[in-house]
Amino acid sequence: MDSASIQFVLFGLTAALVSNFSRSRVWRSIVLLLTSLLFLGLLAHNPIVFLPLAGFLLLAYFGLFLLERGWSRSMVWGILTVLFVYVWLKKYTFLPQGIFLHFPYFTLGLSYIFFRVLHLLIETGDGDEKRHIGPFAYLLYTLNFTTLISGPIQRYDEFARDQFTPEPISLGSRVIGLQIERIIRGFFKVNVLAMLFDMARVGALEQMSQPLPLSLKLFAAFKLAVVYPFFLYANFSGYIDIVIAVARLMRVRLPENFDRPFTASSVLEFWNQWHMTLSNWFKTYVYNPLLVALMRRISSLALEPLLAVFCFFVTFFLVGIWHGRTSEFVIFGLLTGGGISINKLWQLGLARAMDRKGYKALAKSFVYVAFGRGLNFIWFAFTLFWFWANWKQIDQVFAALSVIEWFGVWLAAWLFATVVFTLWEWLRTALLSIKTAEGPVLTSRYALVVYASALGFAALVVTVLLNQPAPDIVYKAF
């Protein structure tokens, strides 16, 4: 079952329907557990392949059990063990091949389970709040099918608040309508937009290796540069739209993962709007503790901003290398961490060079924001070459043009992104300004019905006509 296919949507809707037969938390929890297990069963039919995953869950639960019983000194060892087992099961290439399990086993969603169990271990080990997580609740939280494959990464307390409450959150006709609209929007993003962007990328990649006139090659390079971020956004955020809506229909609110990321005018801002649950997790469990630890050791006020820069680098380097097991992702991590720390240094430098007020005014100015958006976009697009391509493809692509030509391509991409996002924002603002007493016409239920009907119809036609699955959810592989 592809994770954003019609089958998946129907599975989710059926689970939501059955879950709402009763508002009782026991019933809703039983339905969630059974549907999650059924979902796993649909993904792999041989129970043997689940053994390593079961072992991982058991190990983490054992750690949790010890921490709940006051063995707080075991927290570090527990985290390190879980981390090692995760890296081992994911077969990171820096480990010797000989130590890996040599039979096929199930690792889908392991990364997201890893984040959830680490969060449980850290929060329980810190011991600020005493709580007991039973095995049933633990399984529900870790195997929840709406967050299993590609997140979003939900905190346990948020999950428990909605799942185990005797008074579940309301589910009226308006909420249902909005969730259906969101599912359709997500389905359209994954199955139509992402597929079209992917086709454009594959076409451009092919053109780069062909003996074409320079003008065509430059255009292919331009397409290759700008298309992938749009594809990734449509692919991942579309899937997230679907699971958030399905979970809401099951009366659970999942955290948002995207907030119009391409409107960000800096790399720092971008990571607050892109894969938000991942960057928040890393900020909570890497950036903050690291910064606190460093500040304890280095008490110089002058160095404090530079410590933040360093912590940003480490945090986002880890964010980068989390995405894959190969050396390409080390470069992706270095570029991601490097980009965000250079952005921080730029901010510090400007704030020092200008007075604080002047810097704030500049950061809000139309031209600065517009060009900042474009620059952030092309930086992200550039780093993504080490995200989607292997070394051979990267060599081929970059060797196809000279350095000057590539410079021209990126400059054109910057201008393109600047103009397109500025126009998009202007159009959006203009359309949202058309209002009635109930609010903007564009977000009224009438407009949403028209919008959803059109997108649903288009998605259905394209899906049926092309008769081939859309590209898989990229983040499913991590």
């Binding site: 309301s170 009226g172 006709s173 308006r174 909420v175 309508g177 909005l178 969101r182 929007r185 749009f230 956004y233 449509a234 955020s237 997230i240 739209d241 958030i244 948002e256 993962n257 995207f258 907030d259 119009r260 990321p261 391409f262 409107t263 996002f421 998009w424 109930e438 609010g439 977000t443 239920r445 009438y446 019905v449 028209v450 959803a452 009907s453 059109a454 119809f457 288009a458 036609v461 049926v464 006509l465 092309l466 008769n467 081939q468």
Partner: protein
């Protein structure tokens, strides 16, 4: 592209939906889809233009209609390019005159329906023109194929035209049949095979593809059936052979020539054809003209052949094997057109996938296969006895 995912209307969610909205919202949804459908139809009519020019068709008292001599028409299929049809002095789709056979020329008469005529295909791309060109090269003398092929000329119509074909003093008579033409044949008509075919109003309706026995369509039914958006949708859908086969097999009796054993209706059609071919073979023997039967395969057959796993119960070769048996029983050579497609490109590149006729590429493959088989089995007939004795047959590798 950067649409917000944060629900801005969260605070409005709890309010009750006004009662009128339970009617307005579904209607709005339906209206949106209707507008999109109409827009799709408009776009499809722009991009999938279809023009059928029947100005060269004239009534015929025996075979319902034929083509006007020395006439030219221009048509365009929704899936193909504009195409010119020129008819010679006998109303055949051939460049050469149907008059007395020129010296040092081999003449072949071709009988068949739309595929033989080269429906939707430019003249030089028809399998008849391709085969004639290939044979001219191989034999080293001019070969012309007088193409009597005419759309909707199903086996009984072919039967009616054998005398006309033999009167051309041909060196060989080629009969091309396709499974879909059998499907349109009524075996009970065989008993009336010596009577003229439909006439008057029925002829006109037949030419327009209207079955006089069926009730008229309502405007809505007519719109749906002739929807260009539907055609465009099918055009894309049928690019995948598996999807095409799945849908085609749902068409019931039409597809039963692919199922073994044949249904009783298909058995009757094959029996009727057996009878007709026997009488046609006798006439050809009496005129001392060799006769060859060729099967031009359907898109469904070629799709099945190209599939690595043919669904159980289906056999793309069943129809051809039966034709071979019938042909051999009457001492006729059978050319299995499907064989030519066994290792060819994907089926969707060889056919107009919705219409079902072969395109230029498909015709080229069939034309070359016909030329090759005729050279193998009928070289002497094509060259003439004297010429064949003077020129030893070249070694041919397969």
């Amino acid at each position: 592209m950067s649409q917000s995912n944060v629900p801005a209307t969260e605070n409005m969610q709890e309010a009750k939906l006004p009662r009128r909205d339970w009617i307005i919202l579904p209607l709005l949804s339906l209206l949106t889809i209707a507008v999109l459908l109409l827009a799709a139809e408009g776009a499809a009519r722009y991009f999938f233009v279809s023009v059928r020019d029947d100005s060269c068709e004239i009534d015929d008292s025996t075979i319902s209609f034929r083509f006007r001599p020395n006439c030219t028409s221009h048509s365009k299929s929704a899936e193909g390019p504009w195409m010119e049809s020129q008819f010679n002095d006998c109303g055949y789709r051939t460049r050469e005159s149907c008059g007395p056979k020129p010296p040092n020329t081999t003449r072949i008469s071709l009988l068949g329906a739309s595929s033989a005529e080269g429906y939707l295909v430019a003249y030089d791309e028809t399998f008849a023109a391709r085969a004639a060109k290939q044979l001219t090269i191989e034999l080293g003398r001019q070969v012309e194929i007088q193409n009597l092929g005419r759309e909707q000329c199903f086996p009984i119509c072919i039967f009616h035209r054998v005398d006309e074909a033999l009167a051309l003093k041909s060196d060989l008579l080629l009969i091309a049949v396709a499974p879909l033409e059998f499907d349109r044949m009524d075996p009970s008509d065989v008993k009336d095979r010596y009577k003229p075919m439909l006439s008057g109003l029925d002829q006109a309706q037949l030419r327009k593809g209207i079955d006089p026995n069926k009730k008229a369509l309502t405007p809505v039914e007519d719109f749906v059936r002739h929807s260009r958006a539907g055609l465009a949708a099918l055009h894309f859908l049928f690019q995948n052979p598996a999807t095409f086969e799945r849908m085609y097999m749902l068409s019931g009796e039409h597809a039963n020539y692919l199922r073994t054993p044949f249904s009783p209706a298909w058995e009757k059609r094959m029996e009727a054809f057996d009878l007709l071919l026997g009488e046609m073979a006798q006439k050809a023997r009496d005129a001392n003209v060799p006769i060859v039967l060729v099967e031009d395969p359907s898109f469904a057959q070629v799709s099945l052949v190209s599939m690595s796993n043919v669904p159980p119960g289906l056999d793309p070769y069943a129809f051809n094997e039966r034709l071979r048996e019938i042909a051999e029983r009457h001492g006729i050579q059978f050319i299995d057109g499907l064989d030519a497609f066994r290792y060819g490109p994907a089926a969707n590149q060889l056919f107009y996938v919705v219409d079902g006729h072969m395109n230029g590429k498909g015709c080229a493959m069939l034309g070359n296969a016909i030329a090759e088989q005729l050279m193998k089995e009928h070289r002497i007939a094509l060259l003439g006895q004297n010429e064949a004795q003077r020129r030893p047959a070249p070694e041919r590798g397969r």
